[in-house]
């Protein structure tokens, strides 16, 4: 019964008995040998009687060494079960097994089939990890959001109190309280950056230049016992990323490297252009194949275990004792890189070292050129209102609204307040002196700050918009980036930062180029027209229907220089729009685009010298020529593209 020599020697003889009675032996042997899945037969004591080549490959051992070894009786509950196979040398393979009772040489045996599912498991594991990080991120963002609102109130009132206070002792206490609150604000900022909710200001960046300028900072961070080597790749592409955050990410990696090398060692920072191919992307969760710039930071430190490696990006995961670690360093790296459309990967070997690799997508030339950073304003002085400009503050949180309004009043602005969108719109409609809208992003009742901004610009063209948010959600920050043309002030904001941003916006000159309103329900056509108009130096405004066009015409007033109107609009015909516009602007140049040369139409507008009929299809150049013929010229001397094209075709695509 327990003699395990008989069957195994039979197998070693190369003449295994049939698996079950009957069947052609040679055929069965062939099937077993060639089967892609491992096939293994064990006797009642769990001793291997037969193992096919696929099994040997999964075990990483020659078939002969498996025969006779006490693997054990395979047990499965249900269809399949998963086991881990340990290869010589320490590699592990995840295998899925199925088991059937069999008969071997007239004695009961068990046959198991094995399938290597390591690759599938690895992908599943990464997806699960990504999902977990996402969930932790959402939770974190929620907390940080509420916290930021509270901090705005705390910091704001402290600041106010310090300005009013004359007492020196009290001043110290207030100063301490402010510092504490400011540190809390820093913490929430780091949480937001992990949650990919931090408003980034991406710019076209030369990574090599950035790393070079950091050498001093890195030397101080790493200390004397660590040797730094920098290997900058040649002709490294530009990336589009927030320089301050990238710098913070590199510092975080450097600090970790230092902590991993208490007795000193070497840190190597390298940059290179790399192409992540589809094969790599399919193995990693959330990676798109394409060109990337690689920034790697390698150390010769203690390294970390596989288990730690699976957790290091989680916020608050730290192995550093007594408060030396926050567990937020790698969370920042992770959040920032993901938010920038990149990819981050850690490789670590206990006792040998760790390499962190950041991949940032190569900037597309167009996007890089479009990103221009505003010059930083000097922070020595707080700018106040010059002529008591009027600002509308829209915020549903009463404490925050009161604080913002009181700050602005102290800066000598005239302030109007609204707690929701409908009252904000009413105020906008009845107060023509409003120069700036300062609105929270998240507002009750279906419309958010950006919708309000759009409405505000329709009602009163030229009104400046500053949006504040405790965290910019998906609509405002597409994949974490600001829509162009939306100005953002993150909460908690200080008196000084509010003062500066408001002044900055109010002082910014709007382009004086003539505005041309393009009215067409066909978005693609609008895009083509707007592109050619912008190329010619015009500022284009768009409307998709009668209603919107009429509203914009009223809003722009005299700043409108011409209109291009499609005759077939979804709500009311384009020729009625012409009449509507005529009531406001008797001599506004208008081009009426029509699908058929309608004689009746021509006759009707024959008397109006400022209306031109243009038959579709037309080429954009003839359109521009017609505009010129009507006397519409771009502003003298402005050969540059306008500072802020309200919505360019590029954005339309991205939306």
């Amino acid at each position: 019964m327990n003699s395990n020599s008989d069957p195994s020697s039979a197998a070693a003889d190369g003449a295994p008995p049939p698996l079950a009675g009957g069947g052609d032996q040679a055929e069965i042997r062939f099937l077993v040998e060639k089967n892609a899945d491992g096939i293994i037969v064990v006797d009642e004591d769990g001793i291997v009687l037969l193992a096919n080549p696929a099994t040997a490959q999964i075990f990483g051992r020659p078939p002969a060494s498996l025969i006779g070894s006490p693997v054990g009786i395979p047990l499965v509950a249900g269809e399949t079960t998963e086991i881990v196979i340990h290869r010589p040398g320490g590699d592990q393979v995840n295998a899925e097994i199925r088991v059937v009772d069999a008969n071997w040489g007239g004695r009961p045996a068990r046959l198991a089939s094995l399938r290597d599912i390591s690759a599938r498991k690895a992908v599943e594991e990464r997806l699960r990890h990504a999902a977990k990080m996402e969930a932790v991120g959402r939770l974190t963002a929620g907390i940080a959001h509420d916290f930021n609102n509270l901090l705005t109130v705390v910091l704001g009132n402290l600041e106010h109190a310090r300005r009013l206070n004359q007492d020196a002792t009290l001043q110290t206490l207030l100063g301490n309280a402010t510092r504490g609150a400011a540190r809390a604000a820093e913490l929430t900022e780091r949480l937001l950056s992990f949650a990919r909710r931090k408003p980034l200001e991406p710019k076209a960046l030369d990574v090599n230049a950035l790393v070079s300028t950091m050498s001093d900072l890195l030397r101080r961070t790493l200390g004397e016992r660590v040797t730094i080597r920098v290997g900058l790749g040649a002709d490294v592409w530009q990336v589009e990323a927030d320089p301050a955050e990238l710098e913070a990410a590199i510092v975080n990696l450097a600090v970790n490297a230092r902590d991993a090398m208490p007795a000193g060692g070497e840190v190597t920072i390298e940059t290179a252009n790399v192409e992540l191919d589809a094969a790599y992307a399919s193995r990693e969760a959330e990676v798109r194949p394409g060109p990337y710039v690689l920034i790697s930071v390698a150390d010769t430190g203690i390294g970390m275990s596989r288990e730690a490696l699976g957790q290091v990006f989680e916020p608050f995961f730290t192995t550093k004792a007594d408060g030396r670690g926050t567990g937020l360093g790698l969370s920042q790296v992770y959040g920032f890189v993901k938010q920038s459309g990149g990819h981050v990967k850690l490789y670590s070997e206990p006792g040998i070292g760790t390499t962190a690799k950041i991949y940032l997508p190569k900037a597309d030339a167009q996007g890089a050129a479009a990103q221009q950073s505003a010059p930083p304003t000097s922070d020595s002085q707080i700018p106040v209102s010059r002529s008591g400009e009027t600002i509308l503050v829209v915020e549903d949180d009463e404490d925050v609204r009161k604080y913002a309004a009181s700050c602005l009043r102290q800066l000598n602005y005239a302030v109007l307040e609204a707690a929701d969108v409908p009252s904000a719109i009413r105020i906008l409609e009845s107060n023509s002196e409003i120069r700036l809208l300062f609105s929270d992003f998240g507002l009750p009742g279906g419309m958010d700050g950006r919708d309000l901004a759009n409405r505000a610009r329709q009602i009163r063209d030229g009104v400046k918009v500053l949006i504040t948010t405790a965290y910019p959600g998906g609509a405002l920050v597409r994949e974490g980036r600001l829509d162009r043309g939306v100005e953002l002030l993150a909460k908690p904001f200080t008196f000084a930062s509010l003062a500066r941003r408001v002044r900055d916006l109010l002082d910014r000159q709007e382009p004086s180029s003539p505005r041309v309103l393009v009215v067409d329900d066909e978005a693609l056509l609008r895009m083509v027209l707007i592109d050619s108009l912008v190329e010619e130096g015009f500022v284009a405004e768009e409307a998709a229907n009668f209603e919107e066009a009429a509203c914009k015409t009223r809003g722009f007033g005299d700043r409108l220089a011409a209109a291009i109107i499609d005759i077939g609009l979804p709500d009311r015909p384009g020729d009625e729009l012409v009449s509507e516009i005529r009531a406001l602007r008797p001599d506004l140049p208008i081009i009426l685009a029509t699908g058929y040369a309608d004689e009746d139409l021509r006759r009707r507008f024959a008397a109006d010298a400022q209306v031109e009929i243009l038959a579709k299809p037309f080429d954009p150049r003839s359109l521009v020529a017609k505009l010129r013929a009507l006397g519409v010229r771009k502003a003298a001397g402005s050969s540059d593209p306008p500072l802020s094209t309200p919505r360019s075709a590029r954005q339309e695509e991205g939306a």
């Binding site: 395979p74 509950a77 340990h86």
Partner: protein, 105 residues
Amino acid sequence: MSNPEGDSPASEILLRLYIAGSSATSRRAESSLLDLQRAVGPKCRVEIVDVLASPELAERAGVLATPTLSYDNPDRPRRVIGDLSDAKRVLEFLGIEAKEKPHDL
């Protein structure tokens, strides 16, 4: 079966579970092991070997895959591998008798 009934220390049963790290599979196997111990009764001792932490132990025992549960009865060593959740079946394959009545405790 090969185990005489009774409470003498000689009849002690040692079950050794080989696992790899603290994966979900390992944790499931550990909890199955405790179920088995309960089913066998007081004469059952258990031991857990993490093959990642002590690869030499696994090597010496010839454990090629995890989770493996071994019962090193000198007369007739037995092991099972895979899903250990069905205590009755596991004991049957290992050739161990479960305690008869709860009041044996």
